[in-house]
């Protein structure tokens, strides 16, 4: 029984890799061949099946721990390629592989007439492989491999349409795909620095990087070290999950093709940070580290509110969905910070499904409108794109958290934990954000599908995506509706891991649960109605664009993302370029110059002393005179010094007696 479990782990892990190599090496530069798309999707599906069976095995029997081979062994450090499949990692595996399968199938349709079709699938499967390493590895170094691997794949995929020209900041906030890709990679690297320091701290204080050894030895470490490890790891998580200071890359990463945004910037990569916090729950649940956890919760709430506010006025359809992802990530971090790890994980899974669905729907709309993203140019698409309209509707309902939808169970649980923990400010903020989420997601739905057909005068004639793609999106819709009902089963499943993951609401909150839930639902429905009234109307009640509001300070502030990107550009990017140019001058002039000066000085000395041999007797006499004088001086000084020394000594001796 155990043997094929181990092989299952390897299948789940390496299937995407085989898909990527198949697409990359064999058909790297070949023109579009459908085979690569099909083979990649099948292999990802195989990985999904393997993950599902592993999930069943973990639920029934227990975690599987497999050691493939040694990676680095030097001194006392020995890092193996080990893979641990336990409750947390198997959940992530199932989520990742499921969403990836659907996105791969969707991509075969979406990328249909893109000439580097094969390269796309090779990168996408490579990404899934890197994500699987990140999720399944049993030590921090393996996690870091996946961490960076995912970063590189996102760099490749965001910069996929590298031939696009750089456009000025005003015209396109993310300038060009290659610029956005670089920004994403570098900003992730800034966070990886924190992660590395965390790994070093762990190694030097515990002696190994294996999860089990580390979390066992955690409690008997000094508080100071524990806090610094927690902070360092959280910095890593912040970068990958685009939390507050390092979030600008996520909205710019929308430059990549939509399947990429759906897979990477909605479901998998951005959740890696949350996965890290959940994975190291024994550390974050220690009371020595409670300060850091509380900070995580506060930061998460702030980011939720911050992103939701920006999404209210965003005009680009993908930017709205990206900001909503950012906001939901805030929710997950809030839950993780408050200690409700399994709820955060559950919300992560639910969110992955309906956010991927939302993104794919947005992709359909974009595809239909010839890559036009501005929702002001859309409207009344529901007649032309019936299926996408339904899909995006369901996804938005789930996101808003209407009763019996996935979001209702997972998001409200988080709001309940905030209430249960007694952190009422956080609870209040989360409730308001829930309302805002409902408003902006339905604003986008009504804008593009209801109201005036604003696209007709502009000459668009939208048609929906291929049939098989729409069918492929069905599972996501089903999950977006039904996933919430599995919360109970999931609870027992996850509790099997360890007790720090478990989180029970106090019975006091149990009583109020219904009222809390009702409150959030009422706010959500109100927000939806408000959005319907404002944007959904047709004919005379249709939405009219009012310029005044767009010039107002708040609109400007939100549109420029609180001027954070401009701030980074002004106070980090420009000074860095100027100082590096200045350093180059210094290097050329001073360091290099000084060496050349030494060379030139030798030449000059040689030149002046040449005067000695110019044959003129009187100049010889002068040089001789100079020599004589120097000798006399030397004689004088030597006599004076010795004399004066003798004198002082005698004087001192004299005084001595």
């Amino acid at each position: 029984m155990d043997m094929n479990m181990e092989s299952l782990v390897y299948i789940a892990l390496f299937a995407p890799f085989v898909g990527s190599m198949f697409a990359g090496l064999l058909f790297g530069n070949a023109p579009r061949t459908h085979l690569t798309g099909i083979v990649a999707s099948i292999l990802i599906f195989v990985a999904f099946l393997a993950s599902a069976t592993l999930a069943y095995h973990v639920a029934t029997v227990g975690p599987v721990h497999v050691k493939m081979m040694d990676w680095i062994t030097i001194g006392d450090l020995s890092i193996p390629f080990g893979f641990l499949v336990d409750q947390i990692s198997v959940t992530m595996m199932v989520v990742v592989t499921l969403v990836s399968t659907i996105v791969h199938i969707y991509a075969t349709g979406y990328m249909d007439h893109d000439k580097s079709y094969n390269r796309f699938f090779s990168y996408l499967s490579a990404f899934v492989f890197a994500m699987m390493i990140l999720v399944m590895s049993d030590n921090f170094a393996g996690l870091f491999i996946g961490w960076e691997g995912v970063g590189v794949c996102s760099w490749l995929l965001v910069g996929f349409w590298y031939h696009k020209k750089d456009r000025p900041f005003e015209e396109n906030p993310s300038i060009s795909p290659s610029w956005a890709a670089n920004e994403a990679f570098i900003m992730n690297r800034v966070a990886d620095l924190g992660m590395l320091v965390g790994i070093f701290l762990i190694y030097w204080n515990i002696g190994s990087l294996q999860y089990d050894v580390v979390f066992e030895a955690m409690p008997n470490l000094a508080d100071g070290i524990l806090v610094s490890i927690a902070i360092a790891l959280f910095i890593g998580a912040m970068g990958k999950s685009a939390q507050f200071p390092l979030h600008t890359w996520l909205t710019d990463a929308m430059e990549g093709p939509t399947p990429v945004s759906a897979l990477i910037h909605a479901a998998t990569m951005v959740t890696a940070g949350v996965f890290l916090v959940i994975r190291s729950n024994p550390l974050y649940s220690l009371d020595a580290v409670s300060g850091v956890s509380m900070f995580i919760a506060i930061l998460g709430t702030f980011v939720a509110f911050y992103a939701a506010s920006m999404a209210l006025i965003a005009r680009d359809i993908k930017r709205i969905v990206a900001l909503s992802t950012l906001s939901q990530l805030g929710y997950m971090f809030a839950a993780a910070g408050l200690g409700a790890y399994w709820i955060a994980l559950f919300h992560l899974a639910a969110h992955a499904f309906f956010k991927a669905l939302l993104f794919l729907g947005a992709g359909n709309v974009m595809h239909a409108m010839d890559d036009e993203l501005d929702i002001f140019k859309m409207g009344g698409l529901k007649t032309a794109m019936k299926a996408s309209y339904w899909y995006m509707g369901i996804a938005s309902f789930a996101l808003a958290g209407l009763p019996f939808m996935a979001g209702f169970y997972s998001k409200d649980a988080i709001i309940e934990t905030a209430f249960n923990e007694g952190t009422f400010i956080i609870w209040g903020m989360l409730v308001i954000t829930a309302g805002m989420t409902a408003f902006y997601s339905f604003r986008q739905v009504f804008f593009s599908f209801h109201g005036e057909k604003r696209y007709e005068p502009l000459g668009f004639h939208p048609h929906d995506m291929y049939k098989y793609v729409l069918i492929a999106m069905a599972p996501l819709a089903i999950l977006a509706v039904s996933f919430g009902w599995l919360m109970g089963y999931y609870k027992e499943f996850i509790y099997g891991l360890n007790e720090s993951v478990q989180y029970e609401m106090s019975d006091h909150t149990h009583h109020l649960a219904i009222y809390l839930a009702a409150l959030v639902v009422v706010i959500a429905i109100g927000a939806i109605f408000l959005a319907w009234k404002k944007y959904g109307g047709e004919g005379d009640k249709a939405w009219k664009r009012d310029e005044a509001f767009e010039q107002s300070f708040i609109y400007k502030l939100l549109e420029n993302q609180y001027y954070v990107p401009k701030f980074y550009d002004e106070f980090i990017v420009k000074p860095y370029t100027i100082t590096s140019a200045k350093f180059w001058e210094i290097d050329k002039a001073m360091v290099d110059g000084s060496v050349d000066k030494i060379g030139r000085a030798c030449l000059k000395i040689g030149d002046t002393t040449r005067g000695m041999q110019n044959g003129n007797l009187s100049s010889y006499l002068n040089w001789m005179g100079l020599g004589a004088l120097i000798l006399v001086l030397v004689a004088a000084f030597s006599t004076i010094t010795t004399e004066s020394i003798v004198e002082c000594l005698r004087a001192v001796a004299g005084k001595g007696e």
């Binding site: 040449r610 041999q613 110019n614 044959g615 003129n616 007797l617 009187s618 006499l621 005179g625």
Partner: protein, 102 residues
């Protein structure tokens, strides 16, 4: 004024020596240069005599004698050479004579 000690003589001979030295450096005419060397030699003689006298030792004077002997022979040979130089170059100026152009 104060009693003349050996220092006075030494300072005097030092001064005379530096006058002679300046003369040597300054002079372009070889003959005048010889005069300056004579001055330097005499300055040294004073010093010899003075030290000899203040330390009650005759060797100071002995040196003075030999200095005078050498100076005399030097002048004899020097003037002979000067004459030859004058015949060759027609002038005694140092700049004219400097044939060892580097």
């Amino acid at each position: 004024m104060l009693e003349i000690g050996v220092n006075h003589y030494l300072i005097l001979s030092g001064l005379l020596f530096s006058i002679g030295f300046m003369g040597v450096l300054r002079r372009k005419n070889l003959l005048m240069l010889f005069f300056a060397t004579e001055v330097m030699l005499n300055a040294v003689n004073i010093a010899f005599a003075a030290i000899g006298n203040y330390y009650g030792d005759l060797s100071g004077q002995m040196f003075a004698f030999f200095v005078i002997a050498v100076a005399a022979s030097e002048v004899a040979v020097g003037l002979g050479l000067l004459i030859l130089l004058y015949k060759k170059y027609g002038s005694l100026d140092l700049d004219v004579i400097s044939s060892m152009k580097g």
